[in-house]
């Protein structure tokens, strides 16, 4: 386990909620921010604020440097070849949409196949439904088996239909399942497809190496990894990004403009129209520094130990059913979705909130997955580097009280 002193880095963790110390277990929705990131944000506005790529004055150069430095850090963090492969968006959702609206609109045509999975967040379902409407493509979903893993045999069968794109979630935001990204990618490439990975729930929690996985695109969000909201990342292989048309048009993404036509800027700027979210990008650079200082492998180990501890305890709560793998901790992320036989997920979340414990209830933007397993909604506790076993104990005690209240 990581040293609990880490908690002192996060000012919000000293809050009291409903008279009780905050227990924040909603990290899959968004994570809390360390002081170093908050300070960087303030420092940027106090000492560096200007527009980037536009001026030759001191502040503009300083802001530009901070923005580009952030991209270099992110490139190094996921082992991309260069910052040219790092495009900033608003969030992982926008990153996926960027691929849909560029590659999807320009390279897909009627009858082409896109393979996705039944485990996806809505953000990796809806964009393809929109492209399906525009381009009359087919979208197929790799089934989730009863053990909450992807049916790789079915996937291989679908690959025989020569898909143009395979897109899948690396770590499920509900089941906790971590999919074998490298193997799925290898098989997709063998079939001639591009590969887009939704890394929103994996990049914050484990060491990701895009060269090793060999995916063509990877989408993730800063705010789920201790960074500011409003910054998402799309990693793309340089040679593929070079070939794609821009996503949005406007300032900074151009090379030369006439009234009739324009040429595009170099990578990665070709995909970033208008003034970007400079301040949050700069603070995101500090976020990467923070996570690297702690170490992604240690963060992963910490969460694995915590989720294993939580699963053991949760299984003993009367009437509690875990939605996801409850034994294979080695292929599982640090979150647990569950239902209680006697209480609705909304009531569970509300009663836990009264104890200062923040969990999420709902369908977690994965409605089709819930419907497949005949669940309307679930509660979800999701952990991060600053959570402790003592906090899990508090949740277990609170869940026992919910059972008592509803079952008696």
């Amino acid at each position: 386990m990581l040293d609990p002193k880490i908690r002192d880095d996060f000012p919000i963790l000293s809050l009291e909620v409903n008279g009780k110390p905050l227990v924040y277990f909603d990290n899959a929705a968004t994570s809390q921010k360390p002081q170093a990131v908050i300070d960087k944000l303030v420092e940027y506005y106090e000492t560096s604020n200007a527009n980037i790529h536009r001026g030759i004055h001191y502040l503009s150069e300083k802001a530009t440097e901070g923005y580009e430095e952030s991209k270099k850090k992110v490139a190094r963090f996921i082992n991309a070849k260069s910052y040219k492969e790092i495009i900033y968006t608003r969030n992982a959702t926008e990153s996926i949409n960027l691929v849909a609206y560029t590659l999807g609109l320009s390279s897909l045509s009627k009858g082409d196949l896109v393979i996705s999975t039944e485990m996806e967040h809505h953000s990796n379902i809806i964009p393809w439904q929109i492209i399906k409407k525009h381009k009359k493509i087919d979208v197929e979903f790799v089934p989730v088996r009863d053990d909450y893993t992807l049916d790789i045999d079915e996937y291989k069968k679908l690959l025989q239909r020569k898909p143009k794109l395979v897109t899948f979630v690396h770590a499920s935001n509900v089941l906790g399942t971590i999919n074998p990204a490298k193997e799925i990618t290898r098989l997709a490439h063998k079939a001639g497809a591009f590969v887009l990975i939704d890394g929103a729930q994996s990049v914050p929690h484990m060491k990701i190496d895009v060269e090793d996985i060999d995916c063509d695109f990877l989408a993730f969000s800063s705010h789920k990894m201790c960074g500011p909201t409003g910054i998402g990342v799309l990693y793309g292989k340089q040679e593929i990004l070079e070939e794609l048309d821009p996503f949005m048009g406007g300032g900074d993404m151009i090379n030369h403009v006439t009234y009739e036509e324009s040429t595009w800027n170099k990578l990665p700027w070709k995909f970033e129209a208008g003034t970007p979210n400079i301040a949050d990008a700069v603070a995101f650079g500090a976020t990467v520094d923070y996570l690297e200082k702690i170490g992604m492998r240690d963060i992963e180990k910490h969460e694995r130990e915590l989720v294993s501890y939580a699963l053991d305890k949760m299984k003993k709560v009367k009437g509690l059913e875990i939605f996801g793998q409850d034994d294979r901790v080695e292929s599982r992320g640090g979150m647990v979705a569950f239902t209680l036989k006697y209480a609705h997920p909304h009531d569970v979340a509300q009663l836990l909130d009264e104890e200062g414990i923040a969990v999420r209830s709902g369908h977690h933007c994965a409605q089709p997955l819930h419907e497949k397993f005949k669940k309307s909604t679930t509660s979800r506790a999701s952990f991060y580097l600053y959570n402790t076993k003592e906090e899990v104990d508090k949740m277990i005690a609170a869940l026992d009280r919910v059972v008592e209240l509803f079952h008696s």
Partner: protein, 125 residues
Amino acid sequence: MDLYKKEILDHYKNPRNFGKIKTEAKSTHGENPSCGDSINMDIVFKQGRIENIKFSGDGCAIAIAAASMLTEKVKGMKIVDVADIGFQDIQKLLGVEVSHSRKNCAILALNVLRKMVLQELKQQK
């Protein structure tokens, strides 16, 4: 634990007027898509009144307790009076103040009931 006081839990665990009416009833369905609460309501209207009412469905304690209490209140009432029932009345029935995030749970049954009552009033005219 104000929201989960005895009366609310009692109505949740043993909802009144729960089930379906097999004959001569009108039926409507309502749901809160974000939380999965879903309620079906059967009503027999007779001579400007609600003669019989039953509901079925699935939801949180607030949604089910509010539906149970509401059906108890409106059974036998004149439908013109039912049309005047609002969120405040539901809070009074529940006996607690309902927070903004739970308002949709509390008024789900009321929304279904209002829809049916307004339709009935329209047909009478």
